[in-house]
Amino acid sequence: MGTAPDTLLKTPLHGLHKELGGKLVPFAGYDMPVQFGGILAEHNHCRSSAGLFDVSHMGQAFLIGPDHETTAAALEALVPGDIKGLAPGAMRYTLLLNEGGGILDDLMVTRAGSADYDGWIFLVVNAACKDADFAHIAKHLPKGIELDIATSKALIALQGPKAVDVISRHAPEAAKLVFMTGKRMTVAGIEGCIVTRSGYTGEDGVEISVPADKADKLARLLMAEPEVAPIGLGARDSLRLEAGLCLYGHDIDETTTPVEAALIWAVSKSRRELAGFPGSAKIVEQIANGVARKRVGILPNGRAPAREGTSVLDLDGNKIGTITSGGFGPTVGGPVAMGYVATAFAKIGTEVGLDVRGKIHPARIAKMPFAPHNYVKEL
C-alpha cells in the first residue's frame, strides 16, 4: 500500500510504531497506527492485560489563571460541567457547546493537584477538533486567563487491568490515584509528567502526558514490561464502542445536544439552575420536557455488524433512526452499535430492524456499556 504523504503529521512515537510493525493510516491529519498484531488480538489484550496507545495526536492545553475559582469560571462559560467544584487533582468529562446547545467537542478537564499550580486546569481535546477548540476557547477567555497549548507534550494511554501495576513500577504514586483523578509526577525519572487514572476503553488505566522529547523513551520502557502490547486505532474504536463511549464527529457533533446524546450526566446539577453556559436555555428546557430523539445502544440479534449510517426501522419498516457507530464487539462476541432513535423507541428492549444492504436484520435497544466498566473508584 502507498506510503503516507509528507503532509501528514507524525507523533513522537511514529518511529516506534513503524518498528513495531504498525499499519499506518491517515487519521485527523496524523500518520497513525490502525493496528499492530490484529484488531481482535489487541482488543482482547487490552481487556485482559495492558495496552499501550499513542494518543499524542490529541490536543493538550493548560488554562492558567490566578486561582482555581477564576480559571474555572472562565471555562464554565463554555461548558456545562461543574468545574469550580472540582477538588484538587479531580478530573471531569465535559463538552464544549455552541449557542444552540450543539456539541463542539468533548474533552477531559483536570484541576491541578498541587497548590503550586493553583489556577491551572489541564485540558485534553479531540485531535480533529483541537485547532478549532483552542481558537474558540482563546476567543472567549476573559483578561487574566491564558490558554497555553502544550504542543511539546505527547500523550500515552496505558489501559487494561494490569496497566496500573505496570505504571506503578515507574511511578509508585500512580497507584494512589483513583478513577478520574490526576497528578503531576515523575515517571521513570522523567520530570513533569501528568498522570491521570482515566482513559477511553472502559478499563482501568492511566493516561500519561509526557514531554515530547521523552515520549519515545517512556513508551519503550513500558513496552518492555511483559504485560504491555501496542494497540492501534482499530481496537481503540472497538473498545470505546463496547464501553458505550461517544466518538466525536460520529455519535455527537454540532447537531446533537447533550440531552439527545444521553449525556445529561455531563450537565452538572449545579450548573442547570444558574444556566450560564452556551445553549443552556435550550438544554435546561430539553431536560425538563424531553427530546424527540435519543442516543441508545443497539444490539443486532444476529451476527451481521451494522455500521455507521445504517437505518434503524420500526417493526412496520418505517425509519426511526440511524446508527452512528457500529461494528463487531470482540468482548461481547457479536455485533454492537449505538445510534439515535425516536424517543418513543428508546426504551431498553424495544425491538427494531436494521437495514443492512437492503436486508432487514432484527435488533433491540440495549443498555450500554456492552462490556462492563472496570474503573477503580476507590482504593
Partner: protein, 124 residues
C-alpha cells in the same frame, strides 16, 4: 481443475463447469479478522463483476464481486458459525460459494496463480 484469480483478490477453482469461489490469502490478510460473511442464496444468478457477497472484518465491510457469471449452487454454511475460517484457510475451508458457470470462456481474462503472485508483488 484450474484456479483463476481476479484483481479484486477473489479466486475461482473451476471443476466440471462449477467454480468454487473465495478470497485470496492476500485479501484476508488485508481485511484482518473476519467476523461475518453475507452470502448469496442458492439458486440466485449473477453476472461477472456483480456484487455477490459481503465480508465484514472488525474494521470494515467489503464487497465481493462475482469473478464469473453463473448460478449459486452451494454456499459455505460453516462460515455462519465460524467466519474466522476466512483468515485461517482463505483458499481452503474458508471458501464462500459455488457457482455453476454459464460461460466458461469468461475465465480467459483472469490471472493464473503465477500472474496473480506477480500482481500482488506489484502492490507492495
Amino acid at each position: 481443475m484450474s484456479k483463476y484469480f481476479t484483481e479484486d483478490h477473489e479466486w475461482a477453482d473451476v471443476t466440471d463447469g462449477v467454480a468454487t469461489i473465495g478470497i485470496t490469502a492476500y485479501a484476508a490478510e488485508q481485511l484482518g479478522d473476519v467476523v461475518y460473511v453475507e452470502l448469496p442464496d442458492v439458486g440466485k444468478s449473477f453476472k461477472a463483476k456483480d456484487e455477490v457477497a459481503t465480508v465484514e472484518s472488525v474494521k470494515a465491510a467489503s464487497e465481493i464481486y462475482a469473478p464469473l457469471s453463473g448460478e449459486i449452487v452451494a454456499m459455505n454454511e460453516a462460515l455462519a458459525e465460524n467466519p474466522a475460517l476466512v483468515n485461517e484457510s482463505p483458499e481452503g475451508d474458508g471458501w464462500f460459494f459455488k457457482l455453476k458457470l454459464s460461460d466458461e470462456t469468461e475465465t480467459a481474462p483472469l490471472m493464473d496463480e503465477a500472474a496473480y503472485k506477480t500482481f500482488v508483488a506489484g502492490l507492495e
